[in-house]
């Protein structure tokens, strides 16, 4: 990005009507590792790529449970993300306490957006450097929202944020029309395949991604490594054949592979981590 004389603090407009600090905050989101969300009529899936700083460290948590019916995936400054998740949990639980009823996602998202907006209009604050994919279920159905550091929020059928999210978005754009009526399993598979797009060539392993699901009669929870690996195995035969399986976002290709999962799973996956058992 370019430096100029209007970008020092957030309360300074540029002559072309831009708030550069806010835009720089949105850049921070683009630098974080990818997070993806999709929704159907009854379920919302949030998935993200786990990138650890080094081999010695563990990966950062990017998906948080806000309540049984709401989850959030973040990209960008994870510290800011944690703080906002805590805020969301607090709002949700306060509402539940007073009304004994789950807070509707739309209202939570608006409060979050208003909180972010405040930081774009105070000279002693800075915008939150994190983008949030908020997925949840309420009486008007399943919802997926994206909250921006700018204080804007949008509702999506499917979205991806973070580095190399464009590849995932391209994949999702091709497939999104089927999501509304998708089954839970297909939705999860689509999420993992979208994650794979962001890896761009790297082998897809369950250790690299975190997937969470919530839906009607299914409170928010994370999928364990085994379940994720099982889904991966349905469309990844062997690491070398990745390119061929990549073309198969056409369902007919995936179906016969799923039938043969039992044999494929055992064959030559030397890269599979010991936890896969």
């Amino acid at each position: 990005m370019f430096r100029n004389q209007y970008d020092t603090d957030v309360t300074t407009w540029s002559p072309t009507g831009r708030l550069f600090q806010v835009e720089y905050a949105m850049e921070a989101v683009k630098q974080g590792s990818a997070a993806i969300g999709l929704r159907s009529r009854s379920h919302v899936v949030l998935a993200c790529v786990n990138k650890a700083q080094s081999e010695l460290s563990s990966h950062q948590r990017k998906i948080f449970k806000v309540d049984d019916h709401i989850g959030v995936a973040i990209a960008g400054l994870t510290a800011d993300g944690r703080v906002l998740s805590r805020y969301m949990r607090s709002e949700s639980i306060n509402h539940s306490f007073t009304y004994e009823s789950p807070l509707s996602v739309g209202r939570l998202v608006v409060r979050l957006a208003d909180k972010a907006q405040v930081c774009t209009q105070r000279s002693w604050k800075r915008p939150y450097g994190v983008g949030l994919l908020v997925g949840g279920l309420d009486e008007s159905g399943a919802h997926l929202y994206y909250n921006c550091p700018s204080g804007n929020y949008f509702e999506y059928q499917a979205f991806a944020i973070g580095s190399r999210s464009q590849a995932a978005k391209t994949y999702l754009e091709r497939r999104y029309e089927s999501f509304q009526e998708s089954s839970r399993e297909d939705l999860i598979k689509d999420a993992i395949m979208a994650i794979r797009e962001t890896l761009q060539g790297e082998t897809l392993k369950s250790s690299l991604c975190t997937v969470s699901v919530l839906g009607v009669e299914e409170p928010f929870h994370f999928l364990d490594q085994e379940s994720i690996q099982k889904v991966i195995d349905t469309f990844e035969k062997v690491p070398e054949e990745e390119e061929d399986a990549g073309e198969g976002e056409a369902e007919p290709e995936a179906a016969p592979v799923a039938a043969g999962t039992g044999e494929q799973g055992g064959s030559g996956d030397q890269d599979v981590a010991p936890m896969e058992m």
Binding site: F97, T98, Y99, E100, S101, S104, G106, R107, V110, D138, E139, S140
Partner: protein
Amino acid sequence: MTFTIQIENGTEVRNAEADSQRTLYPYVTGTSVVAIKYKDGILMASDMGGSYGSTLRYKNVERMKAIGKHSLLGASGEISDFQEILRYLDELTLNDNMWDDGNSLGPKEVHNYLTRVMYNRRNKFNPLWNTLVLGGVKNGEKYLGMVSMIGVSFEDNHVATGFGNHLARPILRDEWREDLSFEEGVKLLEKCMRVLLYRDRSAINKLQIAKMTEEGVTVSEPYSLKTFWEFKAFTNPTVGAEGSWLYDN
């Protein structure tokens, strides 16, 4: 909102203004409210009396009000506190409507909100001197609950306040059924209200019955119950009593 001005006079400390800001006793009170679930929703009955101690002073007090689209609130106890509660709920429903997002407060949410308010006030030793009955229907689900002035709250198929608990609920325990029709429900409530009219000295013979269904709330016009006072025991109450000179021949 409560200010304590301590005036020290030797060993005595008096809180001059503090007490005038707390509810210590009720002044204008309403008597029982009775409510039942029936086939299509909720039926609630209350009379229109506001007593000033033992005087039946106000005879046109509406003690049942619709809240939002899905709830009905009935109150007994201090009328001014009931009006205060209606103001709280007004604010609540207004803010809810302002969201304009397709979500709306159901009876369960209103009931829990009221429980929080009542309990909170009780903890500050400044209660809202009411027992509230909250009923409603949302998305086909019927809800009926009660909150007392100390914050005790629960749900049931039939509830009553005050004297209604002692006189009406035994009748309801015997005769209430899951699938009462509207007419049967009204008859049952009238039976309860009649007993209350005979036996509760603060009851007046002018009542309203409110109906809450998925379609909405309707509060009936005030009307009176037929009463019969020619029972032998009423005409000559002391016949056969210990020490009386009247005998039943």
